[in-house]
Amino acid sequence: MNIQTASFGEQMELITITEPKFKTVSMMCMMLLPVIPERNSAYALAMSILTESCRKYPDYASLTVKLDTMYGASLNSSVSVNGGVMQLVVSGSTIASRYALAGENLAADLAALLCDCLLDPNVKDGAFEETAYRIERKELLDAIETEINNKRGYALIRAKKTAFCGEPDAYPVYGTKEDVEKLTPESVYAAYQEILRRAVFRFYCVGPDVPEGLAEQLCTAFQGVERCPEPLQYHAPSPCKSAPESVTEPMDVAQSKLVMVFKAPEKNREAFRLFSAVFGGTPFSLLFTNVREKESLCYYCASRVINGKDALMVDSGVELANAERTREAILEQLAAMQRGDFTEELLDNAKLAMVGALRGIGDTPTSCIFEQYERFYTGDPGDVEERVQRYLALTKEQIVDVAKSLTLDTVYLMQQGGAAE
């Protein structure tokens, strides 16, 4: 695997990863900005318009034909928040040129298509073209409206809203229905131009054949874009409430959802993640073996670290009558970890799981990209093997310290059998 970095403008970096074993070429353009909640809707809408049409392929149908001829190439956008940073992503993937049946240079085609979508959108009189705008606006409104369909995901969003109340990343990533209704084709086009001007760009390209001259191609494409990138602050720790806040939301569901948010100053990134693996992040963790297997309270009870927030979430789907017992059982397992009441074997096994996942990076293009991106946003130059060694060096005392530092901040309960407001 050969990794190269080149600049294509101010705060604009191209990272190419050449790996002969891959059968696909993948490109991902990350546009990174400080989170400004009131802009979320406009940014999300701009991203979806960019990947549904462009001047060359002015509607979704013609763009789809182009993607089909590139052997079903993918072209997607996404928006997400990582601590204090809004991550706007446009990505695409196609098969490696050696599999092209007519000798096409698919990597070069994909790079050109991404440049078309990013820099030559379907615009008329200083605004996004009306039909494309209208379709994507409806898509965004539908996405906001259907958030409730996925009950587990919805419960996590609601818990975050309480846990991070008043902080930028508590705000819905797509904004609200009211935010979307205020937008116009002009204002969304202005938001797009703002992204080009203010964002830090990370352009990743992974595959067996990285197109020659890609950095120059990007330089040329972005030439003339006025740049004023803003500094990024990923770490946005959330202050812990003086007493846990409990929120209960009645809903017409068959199963209640319990979410608990804990906070702690994150001093050691690896220790925090290893703690989560022991506590509830693996099928041999304390939560899995005790809350699920021994007490049969639920099908899932899992913990996860929330990036950039110094916080940890535990979520479970339970019978309402068992919700209180589940809450107690989760706290009992945390108390056990605070007392150091877990085996060295469990810790070693959790390390093995973390190390196994790390060493598997490099077998998929996406994992290569995210590993490189993680190095960027953590400012940690350590490669996979260095991080493996850091995990292996962690002691039980360090994990107990993490457990002791955690404080319960929020308890959210989606209560079955009720009617939503």
Binding site: P20, K21, F22, K23, T24, Y60, A61, S62, T64, V65, D68, T69, M70, Y71, G72, A73, T94, I95, A96, Y99, L101, T131, I135, K138, E139, D142, I144, E145, T146, E147, I148, N149, K151, D252, V253, A254, Q255, P283, F284, F288, R292, E293, S296, L297, C298, Y299, Y300, G317, V318, E319, N349, L352, A353, V355, G356, A357, R359, G360, D363, T364
Partner: protein, 426 residues
């Protein structure tokens, strides 16, 4: 019996072994990869509720959801559970039960051989007691409840219920909270001894593996067993659908729908051809590049969640479907059916067919670069009674004429079911 299977289209290859124990084994060594993936599967899923063995006169009937229950319980051996054993190797383990199969799997980047030993051992060592079986009821009941709240799951199962009169594909994979109460240790042992016979099973591994080491472990750990002459039987399914429309209520932001068509069941190579042709046809007729898709999108009848599904097939069932979100699903159904009927008469541009074929080729190439996909695809091929590379080789042979004939002869738009999930009106 050992053979090397090679794809005519890509040159990709794997090893196929019919092991003396009765087990079929597929191994794909993938150069340059660090990780590996293994699946140990049996042809036993939620539809296998009625069966008998050679020499038995009567068919046995077992409660709904028992294959899935068995999957949960098999992880628990007499000494400790399989997850605890995997924990010592760092493998990421799991299992799944579908309509016609159960598979136990793990992925890892180290200690593959040790993890494979765990996989082969625990699946061959069942241990059920009244107490351990009862303990699982609460966990599985919560899994069922979780799915009850999942609108995508509900809309699909409701469609199957409205499509199939008696075929067990109409029942939920995990059964119901009521049906799982009838499951006990004796029933689990009976089903285990019937379906977990190595003659009914497959091992599929791919990635950073060495065939000779895999086979050495198999020689050591597989327990030879007799072919017991398993005979599955399904009730006689009428050719018709049950009802053309079904609706249920869940709290959703937007109504969801599935539109399905009941087709004649097929198997083996005929089924694989039919699956490939129907995937291409649905995409060519209803996909995002078509006029009907664009019109429905622009009119706000559908959004980009609308998609055509992979053909849903297995022993005694074959269903083509599409679905998404719409406030007017009945209008969407009528438009789609009208378009299918038009294309059955008029045909469509053969160049579109070739273009969508190319998309499928691209998807297959993508899968070949992924360790997990390769292992899964070899298992799926075994389950479908075809070779591991048959689909990519067959794809090259399918013509527009074959596909349009299939559309005219096999798709009956009278056998359509529309399933809708929407919020209860107050």
């Amino acid at each position: 019996m050992t053979e090397t299977v090679v794809s005519r289209q890509t040159g990709e290859k794997c090893l196929h072994v019919r092991h003396k124990s009765g087990l079929e084994i597929y191994i794909m060594e993938m150069e340059g990869y660090r990780s590996s993936f293994a699946l140990f599967g049996t042809k036993y899923g939620s539809i296998n509720t009625r069966f008998r063995l050679r020499g038995e006169e009567d068919y046995a009937e077992v409660p709904e959801g028992i294959a899935h229950y068995l999957e949960h319980k098999l992880f628990e051996n007499e000494d400790c559970d399989a997850f605890a054993k995997y924990a010592r190797t760092g493998a990421n383990a799991n299992a799944y039960t579908s309509f016609d199969r159960t598979a136990y799997l793990f992925g890892c980047s180290e200690h593959f051989n040790e993890s494979l030993e765990i996989l082969l051992s625990f699946v061959q060592e069942p241990y059920f007691t009244a107490e351990t079986v009862e303990k699982e009821q609460g966990i599985i009941a919560q899994e069922i409840r979780m799915n009850d709240d999942e609108p995508g799951w509900r809309v699909f199962f409701n469609m199957l219920k409205a499509m199939y009169h008696v075929h067990p594909v109409r029942i939920d994979i995990a059964g119901t909270v009521e049906s799982i109460r009838q499951i006990n240790a004796d029933l689990l042992y009976r089903c285990y001894n019937t379906f977990y016979n190595l003659h009914n099973m497959v091992l599929s591994v791919a990635g950073n593996v060495k065939a000779d080491e895999v086979l050495e472990i198999c020689d050591r750990l597989l327990k030879p067993c007799e072919d017991i002459g398993l005979e599955e039987v399904f009730p006689e399914e009428p050719d018709t659908i049950v009802q053309p429309y079904v609706e249920s209520h869940l709290q959703v932001g937007f109504p969801l729908f599935n539109l399905g068509f009941k087709l004649r069941p097929m198997e083996g190579q005929e089924l694989m051809r039919a699956e490939l042709m129907s995937s291409i046809l649905l995409e060519a007729i209803l996909g995002p590049s078509t006029k009907i898709y664009t019109e429905m999108l622009e009119e706000g009848l559908i959004n980009s969640e609308f998609d055509t599904d992979s053909p849903f097939t297995g022993s005694g069932f074959f269903c083509l479907s599409c679905g998404g979100e719409s406030k007017q699903p009945e209008v969407v159904r009528d438009r789609i059916i009208a378009e299918l009927r038009r294309v059955q008469v008029e045909g469509f541009d053969p160049e579109v067919f070739e273009r969508i074929k190319r998309v499928h080729y691209g998807n297959m190439i993508r899968a070949l670069g992924n360790v997990e996909s390769n292992a899964s695809n070899m298992l799926n091929a075994f389950m479908s009674k075809v070779g591991p590379f048959d689909s990519i080789d067959l794809l090259a042979e399918i013509t527009y004429e074959d596909a349009i004939r299939f559309l005219r002869e096999e798709l009956d738009t009278e056998k359509a079911v529309l399933s809708v999930v929407r919020s209860q009106e107050v």
